[in-house]
Amino acid sequence: MINLKDIRETARDMLAKGEARAVIGYRRGSRGMLAEPAFLTKPEEADELVWDPTCFHNLSLYLVHDRKHLAHAGKNSGGAPVAIIAKGCDARSIVVLMQEHYFKREDVYIIGVSCEGTGVVDERKLATHLNGVQASNAAFDGDDFVFTTAEGEKRIPAREVMADRCLECRSPYPKEHNLVFGEDKTGRQLEAPFAALDRFEAQGAGERWENWARHFDRCIRCFACRSVCPMCYCDECVVDSITFPVTTETTADEKASRIRWIERSAARSENITYLMTRAMHLAGRCTDCGECDRACPVNVPIRLLNNKMEKEAREQFGFEPGASIGGPSLVASFLDKDPGEFIR
């Protein structure tokens, strides 16, 4: 059981002693029970920190933001490290970022939090359970989540409202950490890995397409999936014209010769190209934090695409994303025994 007091004290201590220039964690927001990202720089702010089943955000995104701010200011380092609260999946994201040299190990102080009996809540599943009743607070309690509502306390077995990815999580414990709270419950997985994916894949190709066609039609290209993803840290996205890093080195020719792989129109064909390319680019890098899926305002099951890549990588190439900082990259490496039967 994680004691919130310990997390707060660690944060307070680190900020007071200057061991961290900021602590990124979770605090209660202004919207009911939901936690939101918190950026603490003063010791006295430590009491704002919370740890509950709505702490779904993968905060490593903000390490990326921090890096971009530093780079923009022409700095390589911000001095003391940034401390960050990280669940198992979040910590793996941090590992991938370090694997890709986005920052160095010493730039970050990982305060790991183990998802012990449970994981985080899936708002959509919860909404069905609460049936319109608003909750003002959420808490862990063993294998249950406890919600405070106007109609009193509501206790729900976690597995009924947990995010799919948490049910299937293979490593809820943040292996890479400086400090960790909570027990290592690796192997507690409540559903088989890729269970949701397997259910979807059990359909025929025709049915899968019908489903995806509807999903891709819904996409409004708000790019929340990309914006919320710590791995989508590119300054310019390969597939659209939303971002375009222009530096003093950028030539007029370069500006003129941007490849328009896809059009800006939110048409199905373009949405597919975008989302599939994103899935390819996340292959071997996505740690299944589920943020893209959660952020999508029109419920495109983006996780399934990424999950498909993760499953193939695991089963065919024995690859686990975010396993170690010095590990190989999925698409920049190969094994002699990689499958080749599909090739004529």
């Binding site: 489903n211 064909s269 597919i272 390819m280 695409l305 999925l330 990689d338 499958p339 599909f342 090739i343």
Partner: protein
Amino acid sequence: MSDQQPYEPKIVAFLCKWCSSAGSDLAGVSRIQYPANATPITVPCTGAVSPMYIMSAFNKGADGVLVSGCHIGDCHYLEGNYLARRKMYLIMKLLEFIGVEQNRFRMSWVSAAEGAKFAQVITDFVGDLRPLGPQDKLKRAEIK
């Protein structure tokens, strides 16, 4: 296209310069006939084929995409085809996953000595694509 003409699948064929493009040259020198549906784009190596190319070809209206290179162990650049094998496997699985017909994407190893095989690969591919009809899943909608 008039009603009389049979449907002709459009194929983009990414051929590595050293093996498959040379193999297709050999098919030519040997005058082995095969359907004219595949337009070759010669790349240095299959390792240079970005999955984005596959997506883009389908997006621009290809009915089928072929990637062909040197046999494993024969890569002029030693490892390019190993890297390609992995990348292409992933994109193939992803296409299959969203429900694109398996036969729309194909990969083959055709060495410089395998002119007949090159012709066969194209013939088979066209044959497999015909029954599928035009690819409209990923294709950008036509201008109205």
